[in-house]
């Protein structure tokens, strides 16, 4: 594991040996090049999304390929090419999946009526509490059975049960995990989330799930917020709206888990004499983009409801809630591919991967059951 090369939120975590072996680019140009790469690839995705269906008018299935598919595939290919030339780390300044996805989610808020968020909040909170508790405890228990280190158990359990990389960072800080453990979990989270982006929308179709249930299922069990958004976008706008609300609710629980983990490790595992646990982490770990998401929804709802011409006002809001949002999501999905590193999989070892696999299956099953019950009959209108 010590040789793993990966990143956390775009910040490369590399070994000293790897650093020495690789030439680095210096100066402002790498940042400019990085921005050009991400924006250029997003523009390519937009071009393909618009034009590919017209190139193959006979193949109707081509028209059903959504932009996240193009974005992730193109990002993966571009990341592999940059990696092959040894310049990916040096050009990674603008590969900011988390930033782009959070801006996109705030913009998405503008397209969702505040009343829908208010109605979805109740079932979302119930689902989040039951799902996080179940998946966290099962993962913690199973990782213990396999003899994993307590800190690695905590980081994996938080990542799988709450919201992927962000939760892994919060948990790693709470239990003072090693940076190699955090880097490793961050990579494996993406490794498991990537196939689910495509598998879950397909399963939604196979199972014939209504949009709110599909959204709640996707939002509940896919780990990373970016992957939830990609899968939700593939299913459709209604599923995406519920998936975003459900995932945001899970994100909001992150502070509670961080405080709980800190207390558990301080008082039960490490038994530090005289140590205390502050509640400041509740606010520090609260995802601020959720505030932006709700404010954007409230502002857009008020704007439309008080407009002289609500139809024209709705068209204006669509520029933020749909047009701009799709651009930021495209930048995020391209970045997912650019940030993905195959090397981390080789470094992983079998036992943690087995924990991830079991946790993912449990997460899929419990989330489907909860979504089917809590969001049955939910209306988005």
């Amino acid at each position: 594991m010590s040789g793993a090369i990966t990143s956390v939120d775009g910040a490369p975590l590399v070994t000293d040996e790897a650093r020495e072996a690789r030439p680095t680019l210096t100066g402002p140009l790498p940042v400019v090049l990085s921005i050009v790469i991400v924006v250029g690839l997003a523009a390519l995705v937009h071009f393909l999304d618009v034009n590919v269906p017209t190139w193959f008018p006979q193949a109707t299935w081509v028209g059903s390929i959504e932009f996240p598919v193009y974005a992730i595939v193109i990002g993966l290919v571009a990341g592999a090419v940059l990696g092959a030339f040894g310049v990916r780390e040096a050009l990674s300044a603008a590969f900011r999946t988390e930033f782009f996805i959070k801006v996109g989610l705030v913009l998405l808020g503008a397209s969702i009526n505040l009343a829908v968020i208010a109605r979805a909040a109740g079932p979302s909170i119930v689902q989040a509490i039951v799902l996080i508790s179940t998946v966290f405890l099962v993962t913690w228990w199973f990782a213990g059975r396999l003899g994993l280190d307590d800190k690695l158990r905590a980081v994996i359990a938080a990542a799988v049960s709450i919201c992927g990389v962000s939760a892994a960072i919060a948990a790693a800080g709470a239990v003072e995990a090693k940076r190699e453990q955090l880097a490793y979990v961050a990579s494996v989270v993406i490794m498991f989330a990537l196939p689910l982006i495509f598998i879950e929308p397909w399963l939604v179709q196979v199972l014939g799930l209504p949009a709110p249930v599909a959204g709640a299922w996707i939002g509940g069990n896919i780990d990373t917020t970016a992957a939830v958004t990609a899968a939700g976008s593939i299913v459709g706008d209604q599923a995406l709206a519920i998936a975003a609300i459900v995932k945001s609710t899970q994100n909001a629980m992150m502070g509670f888990v961080a405080v709980g983990l800190t207390a558990w490790f301080v008082y039960r595992i490490e038994r530090k004499p005289g140590a205390t646990v502050g509640l400041g982490a509740l606010w520090a770990r609260f995802p601020k983009f959720i505030i932006g998401f709700v404010i954007a929804s409230a502002a857009a709802t008020w704007f439309i409801n008080t407009a002289v011409d609500p139809k024209a006002a709705g068209a204006m809001v669509k520029v933020a809630g749909t047009d701009l949002r799709v651009w930021f999501f495209t930048l995020a999905f391209v970045s997912i591919g650019l940030e993905f590193r195959v090397g981390a999989i080789r470094e992983a070892g079998v036992r943690p991967l087995l924990v991830f696999a079991v946790a993912t299956v449990v997460n899929l099953t419990v989330a489907l059951a909860l979504a089917s019950v809590l969001f049955a009959g939910f209306s988005l209108t």
């Binding site: 975590l13 590399v14 959070k102 705030v106 932006g292």
Partner: protein, 53 residues
Amino acid sequence: MSLTQPPSGARAQPPTVATAGRRAINEDWLATIVGLILVLLVLAGVITDALVP
């Protein structure tokens, strides 16, 4: 731009867990502010559909 080998003995350390946590929190606020500014500009009519490809 220059293509250089980093000097040995002056190795930059990879970000610690604490650094990654601070970065995530700062990025969270930045994304929120950028998103809300864009929404405000759209509602104010500054950014119109003609400006978004």
